[in-house]
């Protein structure tokens, strides 16, 4: 589904990604872990098409498409979804309105009929129940005055409504208390499907107690140094990242 080959990217003159290789198949959940500044969020941003990053080398193939050649909205319409680490506030723009516009943009792309307000409302109400979100959310501005936890829940709600093929979750667990973490994890787990891949970018193994990954990668200094199963995450939790770096240096 997603093939990243020798990806190099920089911001300004600073090289952040220095040769990332990653293979994600449908139905898999991958966790990308790593210390601060290792390039985790950059990788998610580059995949979603955020401006300000320059890809200097390498390719990204997504469902046979050259992902890097696509505009952010084209990527979204092709089924890529990024759950933001810091969701943006858009005052005055209704939450439900944004989400309906997004859903219809994606449905148009798929050649499906647009949903009307009525159908949309019943759809979103179901998903809101899953995310334990209050009805008042519908009439509020996008992320306007939301608490940290509400913002993250909103991201997963959007994911649930938009039903992406490839979901990138950028530190979705950061800033969540344990109850909110459970709700968010529950939402993500409910979206696991044989035709959907999920890539979690996270700092802590805590999230992985709730969302069990198929593959865990360690990203450090712009490269994936080690990949393994979920036991790797536990080992990282115990021993930190240094040993991975040292072993990589020796090799």
């Amino acid at each position: 589904m997603l093939s990243i080959r020798d990806l190099h990217a920089r911001i300004g003159a600073r090289n952040i990604l220095k040769g990332v290789d990653l293979e994600v198949r449908p139905g898999e959940v991958h966790a990308i872990m790593g210390p601060n500044g290792s390039g985790k969020s950059t990788l998610a941003s580059v995949l979603a098409g955020r401006a300000g990053y320059e890809v200097t080398h390498g390719t990204v193939e997504y469902l046979g498409l050259d992902l890097l050649a696509m505009e952010p909205e084209e990527r979204a319409r092709a089924g890529v979804f990024l759950a933001f680490q810091y969701p943006v506030e858009i005052p005055g723009v209704n939450n439900a309105y944004l989400l309906k516009a997004a859903l219809n943009a994606i449905r148009r792309q798929r050649g499906e009929p647009e949903v009307d307000a009525f159908d949309f409302l019943s759809l979103i109400r179901d998903k809101m129940k899953l995310m334990q979100m209050d009805e008042s959310f519908l009439s509020r501005g996008v992320n306007e005055g939301f608490s940290g936890g509400e913002k993250k829940r909103n991201e997963i709600l959007q994911m649930a409504v938009l039903e992406p093929k490839l979901a990138l979750l950028d530190e979705t667990d950061s800033g969540l208390d344990i109850d909110a973490l459970r709700v968010v994890a529950n939402g993500v787990n409910s979206l696991r499907a044989p035709d959907r891949a999920i890539v979690l970018v996270t700092h802590y193994q805590r999230l992985l107690d709730y969302i069990e990954p198929d593959v865990v990668h360690v990203l450090s200094d712009g490269r994936i140094l080690r990949s393994g199963d979920k036991s790797l995450a536990l080992e990282l939790e115990k021993r930190g990242y240094d040993w991975v770096r040292q072993e990589a240096a020796v090799a």
Partner: protein
């Protein structure tokens, strides 16, 4: 076709009946302004002596005035002797003969705004401008108003049929000495609208210039007077979202509103005059004086404006709150794109006790546009317990535009409560990326963010107008990002 021909004749006939006499075809006065020209205008319109005297006093006063220069605007000098102050309805020999001759760009804009087909020809100034559909609409409309006792007619018709109302109210809110442009207007105005809503009457429909028979001949110096008698209620819509063909560069209109005790006037404007091209060439100068007086106790005047057009906008719809417990409101969206300049805002003058005012101003600047909010909240010693709330927000798109805010406050009563909030923000790359990463195109994302920014003002517009205003903003902002 014979029915259409009859309709056409009917319209032409009506137009003449409403203010013009048949012999004017020949006499367009040459450019220039002096007392003779004013006498001529007054005579052509069959005006009573008091009105001519008033015009002449205004003219003599105007001669001693200078163009105001305090606004944050760059205005090329205007030669007032180069303007023709009276002309018969244009023979329109140079007007397009059919829609095929109209600039395709203009037609594309109509398409985007969803202007009905039969309206496009009229707006584009096509010579055969019979608006067949609206004739019947306008007639039913007049019947309903007449039953309610509401007077709604061209100003020149009011001069003939209601001179006593004019003499009583004209110039009582905006005196002929008021300011350079208002004084000029007082001397030379040629038409406009007059509305009188009798005591206790709730006007049965929104009054719109759209339905005024001669709306196509909007003058350069318009004069509008709306009087809401005790306990009455009226909502007036001015303007049109679609750009109109217009050969006058300078527009200096005056609008006066009078609300007597317990009366309510809601005045909504959507202004979309030609803003000039992308290089800043051409475009309308819009120098308007709009003011309402809440003369009676518990009265209310509410201004809502969406200003997207004109090369230069100089406009401060204001409220004089004379009556105790009266309420003044100003809701504004002003957009300056390309080389447009807007200096707009309001004045709230609190005189009566417990008077309240609300100001919500949303300025959007894009391209090389310059947008200025200028507002005055004045609380006189008599205004015991007065309250004002002002919210003034600016949105910038790109880094070559400007937003400026000049709030003035004069508080002369210690019991007053005045609040002012102001923000300036930029459409963030983050906001755009957020929307795009959800599958929304950049253009739709910009529209969404701008409309969100303006939402509180749009809420004040009548429903249909609000939808049009949203479309208008997106058309006006096309290409502003990216």
């Amino acid at each position: 076709m014979s029915t259409s021909q009859q309709d056409l004749d009917a319209i032409v006939g009506q137009k003449y009946q409403h203010g013009f006499v048949t012999d004017i075809e020949a006499d367009t006065v040459p450019p220039g302004l002096d007392e003779d020209v004013i006498r001529l205008i007054s005579r052509k319109k069959g005006e009573p002596q008091f009105l001519l005297d008033w015009r002449l006093r205004a003219y003599r006063h105007w001669l001693g005035m200078a163009t105001p220069d305090w606004a944050h605007l760059r205005i090329a000098p205007i030669d007032y002797q180069a303007i023709s102050y009276y002309s018969a309805p244009k023979a329109r020999a140079d007007a397009p003969k059919s829609l095929d001759e109209v600039d395709p760009k203009l037609l594309a804009t109509y398409e985007k705004l969803g202007v009905p087909l039969h309206e496009r020809a009229r707006l584009a100034g096509v010579a055969v401008d019979a608006v067949f559909d609206s004739v019947s609409v306008a007639t039913t409309f007049k019947d309903r108003l007449a039953k309610a006792g509401v007077v709604f007619c061209p100003f020149s018709e009011a001069v003939k049929n209601h001179p006593e109302l004019l003499e009583r109210y004209l110039g009582t809110v905006v005196p002929y000495t008021d300011n350079f442009f208002a004084t000029l207007n007082s001397a030379v105005f040629t038409d406009g609208s007059f509305v009188y809503v009798p005591k206790g009457v709730r006007c049965p429909m929104e009054l719109s210039t759209y339905f005024r028979i001669n709306a196509a001949n909007t003058g350069q110096f318009e004069r509008t007077l709306i009087v809401a008698d005790e306990g009455s209620h009226v909502s007036y819509l001015e303007g049109c979202t679609a750009p109109m063909r217009d050969e006058n560069q300078l527009h200096a209109a005056v609008v006066e509103l009078v609300a007597l005790g317990d009366a309510e006037i809601k005045y909504s404007t959507v202004q979309n005059w030609y803003p000039g091209d992308e290089q800043g060439r051409g475009g309308i100068y819009n120098f308007v004086t709009k003011r309402g007086e809440c003369r009676g106790a518990n009265s209310r005047i509410s201004w809502t404006q969406v200003e997207t057009g004109s090369a230069i906008t100089w406009k401060y719809p204001s409220c004089v709150l004379t009556g105790d417990n009266s309420v003044g409101e100003f809701y504004s969206v002003a957009l300056a794109n390309h080389y447009q300049q807007a200096d707009t805002g309001t004045k709230m003058i609190h005189i009566g006790r417990n008077t309240r005012s609300t100001i919500v101003s949303k300025g959007i600047s894009a391209g090389k546009g310059q947008n200025t909010y200028r507002g005055l909240v004045k609380i006189l010693p008599s205004a015991e317990g007065a309250r004002n709330y002002t919210q003034c927000d600016s949105l910038l798109m790109g880094d070559t535009c400007g937003a400026h805010t000049f709030p003035y406050m004069e508080i002369r009563n210690p019991t007053a409560m005045v609040e002012h909030e102001a923000t300036t923000s930029k459409i963030g790359d983050d906001q755009l990326f957020y929307c795009r990463s959800r599958g929304i195109s950049e253009e739709d994302a910009v529209n969404m963010i701008v409309n969100g920014f303006c939402k509180v003002v749009f809420k004040e517009l009548p429903m249909e107008f609000a939808v049009e205003a949203q479309n208008l903003l997106s058309v006006s902002l096309e290409g502003a990002v990216g």
